[in-house]
Amino acid sequence: MARDACGTLGELKLIFEHEGTNTNYVPMDMALNDRLPSPFNRKNLPLPDVSEVDVVRHFTLLSQRNYSVDTVFYPLGSCTMKYNPKINESASRLEGFAAIHPLQPAETCQGALQLMYELERDLCEITGMDAVTLQPAAGAHGELTALMIARAHFHGKRKKIILPDSAHGTNPASAAICGFEVVNIPSNEKGCVDLPALEKAMDETVAVFMLTNPNTVGIMEENMPEIVRIVHGKGGLIYCDGANMNAMLGITRPGDQGFDLMHLNLHKTFSIPHGGGGPGSGPVCVKAHLEKYLPLPRVVKKGDEYSLDYSKPDSIGRVRSFHANFGVLVKAYAYIKALGPGLKKVAEAAVLNANYMLASLRGSYPVPHDRLCAHEFVLSGDARASEGVHTTDIAKRLLDYGYHAPTIYFPLIVHEALMIEPTETEGKETLDGFIAVMRKIAGEPAELVKGAPYTTPVGRLDGVAAARKPNLRWNREA
């Protein structure tokens, strides 16, 4: 039920609903209609007929309702919502980067090519891989690109992909889109790969074992050498879903752990604003034996000269127009160069923050896989199920205290999952504030929690009705 609970904010109208509400404006003295050539002068464009001040207020008010990392703590597990330094934005808006055209000759944009070349080298160093493509537009696109590389490597002969049941949903989706058959294997009691199950599923028809490390319950796989032995023993490739790279920066490298290829989410690990559609960036990093399949063009350096190389016959071809989300690459580059060896401290602080929160919340919420965690951890919101309090209620109640909710109901292997990732950019005071609220909610009356939120511009929305009968578009006729 919508209601006015936020003082001056109140209930927002759609932009179309402002039509005719502010007619007291002074019209411009420019007869635009007379100046436009008639083919471009359409009479019945269905645009909202509103005054400029209404447009500005409408969008300014909308922006004030935004939850963002610039305004609140945002512990959305698996998403690495760290603070994004503003210098990244300045760097990406430098004229030499922002105003170049993707088709201009290589000799006129040497700086941009140099940045891409050096970013690739830095990502190799960070991941322990040998070569990188920066083309994929975000994480899932990176997964798909990596699987296309695997398909090329096996000449389409191996048809299966193995996934643990804790995998991100994008993994089976990418595999299916790429034409593979998906085989799920269960996780063991610790939340890690069940080695006998992997051994049983692995044979010469399996192209790739896709693994997230640390995995989605926030735990580092402890049997990597054995996993690598099993998969490589049957000639398969091991892929690392790099969504959780923030836990490993400068400490351990997927390339050293035995992975053959992986994707990174630059927008997560390397401090780029994301959510709500990006733009993101999902580079794929590979070992030397897979380099020849990387998408084209490749940025190459001869002497001091950078150029684009289209001459790799085994390449899977282009996966993205032009040179990917280039502005995002500039931001990642700025972040990596600003921190340098300090990247190791990022992972250390991210892991420390997560373990501090886990230790502080252990007494208030069940912890199904209770071990030293990596950069995130998973609680269960199941403790008060008999009173009808579920994870979704806890998440809604957090909104009342001004926090973005954690990831809920993922991973699927944890009942009523609440997945919390604080990141390294939050101080102890912020963590303590969130911990205190989580403890408080655990003790609040069931009816109070089930009715949340109370302080947001709109209260509990009917998510079921919205999903069953979505109403996504305003109609003038309606």
């Binding site: 949903g169 699927l412 998510g463 999903a467």
Partner: protein, 124 residues
């Protein structure tokens, strides 16, 4: 006679036709179901292979075929009324009817007693 899978599907066999759906336990775990993607009539399915897809407010889940065979009918109303699965998972919320290829496969399934024990053994 109803039989059950470890993935929480049920099958009710009459002659060589088995009506299939997901169990009441499964719908409770999934919560409010918001859409169901059914197979096409005529589709060939394999035992424990993919049959349908259910989306709930919590997750998107595959539904597997309890037996191998040909889909001879689907519950047409379900696409427009996914709430039937929540209201009546083991009757009105049926998914499809499969013409059994091999009656012997029913031996791979649990009876009601065994399934209830199986569900009791699942810890949260």
């Amino acid at each position: 006679m109803m039989k059950f899978t470890k993935e929480h599907e049920w099958i009710n066999v009459e002659g060589d036709i088995g009506t299939v759906g997901i169990t009441d336990y499964a719908q409770k775990q999934l919560g409010d179901i918001v859409s169901v993607e059914l197979p096409k009539v005529g589709a060939k399915v394999k035992q424990f292979g993919r049959l349908a897809l259910v989306d709930s407010m919590k997750a998107s889940s595959d539904v597997y075929a309890s037996v191998s065979g040909e889909v001879v009918a689907v519950n047409d109303g379900l696409s427009q009324n996914p709430q039937w699965v929540n209201e009546s998972a083991e009757e009105k919320g049926w998914f499809a009817k499969i013409k059994l290829e091999n009656q012997g496969e029913l031996g791979n399934l649990m009876d009601k007693l065994a399934y209830d024990e199986f569900v009791k053994g699942i810890k949260h």
